[in-house]
């Protein structure tokens, strides 16, 4: 095992400690350079670790406390390609966000850089650790950093409210996980995930195991923002400073999905094997609900960052559906899609930041036609982001969605394809609609609902004054991210690589072997998948759907008003009711959290 394995986590922590002291006498450019250099160093180390893990997944035992005869007492970093790859992806986005932030803030406290480095360290630790308690520790670290970063702009009201809702929801989730791990420790006497899984193997799932699983799932799905545990997300993502939103939507919530997949395959795959069909149905209900509610709410927004936040929820729903299929191909699809979506969503938040920076508003109707004052490249980039969300053929998101489509059909759940197309089309369409209205001046400049305008206004004043130019890095960074989102899937070995990594990830028995016994694992040999005609058809359908959704959003008001009342009223009432549920009141959110966790628990106890 490479000696450097722990360093990607340690280097940013040391950097953060240094910068806390140094920030009083080092100038701004020095702090910027230092933070970017530290993140680059950590990413380089991660690339080395990943290069090793692709062929030989390995466990790194902290303090040298290796397992003896397959029994472990120490803490391991258990590194496989998916974990290491996700860690690298997270660190690269931290770097991108820091470069973008160079010119975004007029004045920035060095503490911002400190927290960004710690955020990177937390996400990397979360991806690499093989110990359940350690996973929760990194969850809490990620949380502590994220709550503070959300409210970075303390002179505004909305960020404070968003951060409070975020902190309380995620803390409750964390405590549920503490209880779950205590239960598993009482049952198995182990904290290492591989060891817990190996001990549970061969025993049927009894209520203790089921409830522990439910609490862990509920906890991580809160971070991932699955309905109805999702309320905090839109509040926090809409108001956090743009460079932070990039990390929240681009990778942090996806880590919640990653953790659900990890603990299912490492810990619960054994006892749940007999109940896979029932568990799949429960998770599918959760995923489909999330995908559709997220998409509907996304379409109904005019606050652009909030719109993007709901589109993230919708995509999380698709990812949960992918996990629910409990199949390596679907998981590979999720992994590819996470990369594509993360890059596209990061770029879109950065472009929304450009609008906010320039015009000091983030309301779609306020910005009607004003995008033409920006450099010409901004509009096409924004539209490209929309096409990526709509899974336009041959882009990375398309590759991911195709794998998901194939896995759904293969599992006899072909109807899921329609859900994926609907979610992709609606979220992509909403972004295209915004692009059309702002950069081309299409559609009316007055919103249908004057009340919503006030709300959007109030949330928009993240930065007080409009500027008259846009610094180059603020456009260059999203352009690079979008280019990556186009290019990644075109590298021939990329998609098969993801499939192999996913097959390794879902190998429950194999994982225990390489973690606990350092046994070499045979790398799975898989038939190569090809893009079929069906895939292109589905891709074309979702792009077409997105264009139609955008056109209806822009020009469809006469059409909507012409609808007969008995059709229009219920639709309006549904959207209105959904919007009213997102009240911003933490009491509501916790009541929903309790209901969500309770229903998930009851469903699992009854069905499994």
């Amino acid at each position: 095992m490479p000696v450097i394995t722990a360093l990607p986590i340690v280097v940013p922590i040391l950097g953060a400690a240094l910068l806390v002291v140094a920030r009083t006498f080092v100038p701004r450019w020095g702090q910027d350079t230092f933070a970017v250099a530290i993140v680059a160093a950590s990413a380089t180390l991660l690339a080395l670790v990943l290069a090793r893990a692709i062929h030989h997944p390995f466990a790194y035992w902290m303090g040298g406390w290796r397992p003896v005869h397959g029994v472990t007492i120490g803490i391991s970093l258990s590194i496989d390609p998916i974990g290491a790859g996700l860690a690298l992806f997270a660190m690269l986005l931290v770097g991108a966000a820091l470069v973008y932030a160079l010119k975004y803030f007029d004045a920035v406290d060095g503490l911002f850089h400190v927290l960004m480095m710690l955020f990177g360290a937390a996400m990397v630790g979360f991806c690499l650790t093989g110990d359940l308690f350690n996973l929760v520790v990194f969850f809490e670290l990620m949380g502590a950093v994220a709550y503070a970063l959300t409210a970075y702009e303390i002179e505004e009201r909305a960020p404070l409210q968003g951060a409070i809702n975020f902190a309380i929801s995620n803390s409750v989730a964390g405590y549920a996980m503490f209880i779950a791990l205590a239960m598993l420790y009482a049952r198995t006497g182990a904290l290492n995930m591989a060891q817990i899984g190996a001990t549970l193997d061969g025993h049927p799932a009894d209520p203790l195991v089921i409830v522990a699983m439910v609490l862990l799932f509920a906890g991580f799905l809160t971070k991932a923002a699955a309905v109805p545990l999702h309320f905090w997300l839109a509040d926090a993502h809409a108001v956090a400073p743009t460079p932070v939103c990039v990390l929240f939507s681009g990778v942090m919530i996806e880590l919640g999905v990653y953790a659900v997949a990890r603990i299912y395959w490492v810990i619960f795959a054994g006892p749940m094997h007999a109940h896979a069909i029932a568990l799949r149905s429960i998770l599918l209900v959760l995923g489909v609900t999330t995908a559709l509610i997220g998409a509907a709410m996304c379409t109904a927004q005019r606050h652009i960052k909030r719109l993007l936040a709901f589109s993230s929820i919708s995509h999380i729903g698709m990812f949960v559906c992918g996990i629910a299929l409990l199949d390596h191909k679907a998981l590979a699809g999720v992994a590819v899609h996470v990369v594509g979506h993360g890059l596209a969503k990061a770029a879109l938040f950065m472009l929304a930041g450009v609008l906010l920076h320039r015009f000091a508003t983030i309301d779609e109707f306020d910005l009607h036609g004003r995008g033409r004052e920006l450099p010409w490249v901004t509009g096409p980039l924004f539209a490209l982001g929309g096409l990526l969300l709509a899974a336009c053929p041959i882009f990375t998101t398309f590759m991911g969605k195709s794998l998901l489509d194939e896995a759904s059909s293969g599992a006899g759940q072909g109807w899921l394809v329609a859900v994926f197309i609907a979610a992709s089309a609606l979220t992509g369409g909403a972004v295209l609609r915004v692009a059309g209205r702002i950069f081309l001046g299409w559609g009316p400049s007055e919103g249908p609902d004057p009340l919503q305008a006030r709300a959007a206004q109030e949330q928009g004043d993240e930065l007080n004054e409009p500027r008259d130019n846009t610094p180059a890095p603020m456009l260059a960074v999203p352009a690079v991210l979008l280019a990556l989102a186009l290019a990644v899937a075109l590298i021939p070995s990329m998609v098969p690589g993801f499939e192999r990594a996913a097959a390794l990830f879902t190998d429950h028995g194999g994982y225990a072997q390489w973690v606990l016994r350092a046994a070499p694992v045979p790398l799975p040999q898989l038939p190569a998948s090809h893009i079929s005609g069906d895939d292109v058809l589905y891709g074309a359908l979702s792009v077409l759907g997105a264009l139609v959704a955008a056109a209806v959003g822009l020009f469809g008001r006469p059409l909507r008003e012409a609808l007969p009342g008995q059709l229009r009223e219920p639709a309006l009432a549904t959207i209105h009711g959904l919007r009213r549920l997102h009240s911003g009141h933490i009491g509501d959110y916790i009541a929903w959290w309790t209901a969500g966790a309770g229903v998930l628990g009851a469903a699992c106890l009854l069905a499994l």
Binding site: G63, V71, D131, F133, A144, R187, L208, G598, L605
Partner: protein, 256 residues
């Protein structure tokens, strides 16, 4: 949602979640009926291989030292976050003589009697000594870096309770406290890197073990304990002064 709707929702959800928890807990072994092996194994190992007598501290700084690293960084990150959130803004000012407004004088703790003032200095000295003792004896007796660190931080706090807020600030200026916090966090990480350099594994002990029950037993654990002690002292002092600044010194300029 209206308050009523919220309560109705919880009236169903709360008991439901409680029932789920209880059904799960029913599978736990009865209280006191512990039959795990992890506990036995680690106790034997820590005593035999690490010469530490307080097994909890030893676990904390050795076998599960990486969790402790995470815990220290959570503390470090939160303190940084609190400092960021409570940073003074343009419209706020630190007003040094705020006799206006009829509030209590800000630098004197309301209830500080003469007696309290007299004992505060020896109390502070005692707390600092006690805290230092608890920190360095972590591997031998109950307590360790964290507990001792909070007690240490309570020393300057005692000076404040004695009625001298500004004196306590002079005793522990912000830059020094911040440096202490950062040095502790970095120190713990550096102990880990020491393991990497001298024993080629991160967080591996690289110092002689000493004999059980003595001050310097347990290899690098006492040093880890001291690093944590430094960090915790700095962290709590910083958080307390940030909040006390808000409560006692900071005024909003004009209205808001």
């Amino acid at each position: 949602m209206t308050r009523r709707a919220r309560l109705m929702l919880f009236a169903f959800a709360g008991p439901g979640l409680a029932a789920v928890l209880v059904i799960g807990f029913a599978g736990l072994p009865s209280f006191g009926d512990y039959h795990g092996v992890y506990g036995h194994v680690v106790t034997g190992i820590e005593l035999a291989e690490r010469h530490a007598t307080d097994i909890v501290t030893a676990l904390n700084f050795d076998i599960r030292a990486f969790d402790t690293l995470g815990e220290e960084i959570i503390l470090f990150a939160s303190v940084t976050g609190v400092a960021l959130l409570l940073r003074p803004l343009r419209e706020e000012e630190e007003d040094e003589d705020s006799e206006d407004g009829g509030q209590e004088a800000p630098h004197v703790f309301g209830g500080a009697s003469d007696a309290l003032r007299t004992i505060s200095a020896p109390l502070a000295a005692f707390l600092v000594a006690l805290g230092a003792y608890v920190v360095v004896h972590g591997t031998i007796t109950p307590g360790g870096g964290f507990q001792g660190g909070v007690v240490l931080a309570a020393g300057p706090l005692a000076v404040f309770v004695g009625g001298r807020y500004l004196a306590s600030r002079r005793l522990a200026p912000d830059w020094a406290v911040e440096a202490m916090d950062a040095a502790g966090a970095a120190g713990y990480v550096l102990m880990g890197i020491g393991g990497l350099v001298f024993a080629s594994i991160f967080l591996k002990n690289f110092l002689p073990l000493g004999s059980p029950g003595h001050l310097l037993s347990g290899g690098f654990m006492p040093l880890n304990s001291i690093a944590v002690g430094l960090e915790v002292t700095g962290a709590f002092l910083l958080v307390w002064t940030e909040f006390l600044d808000q409560a006692l010194v900071m005024r909003e300029k004009g209205g808001s």
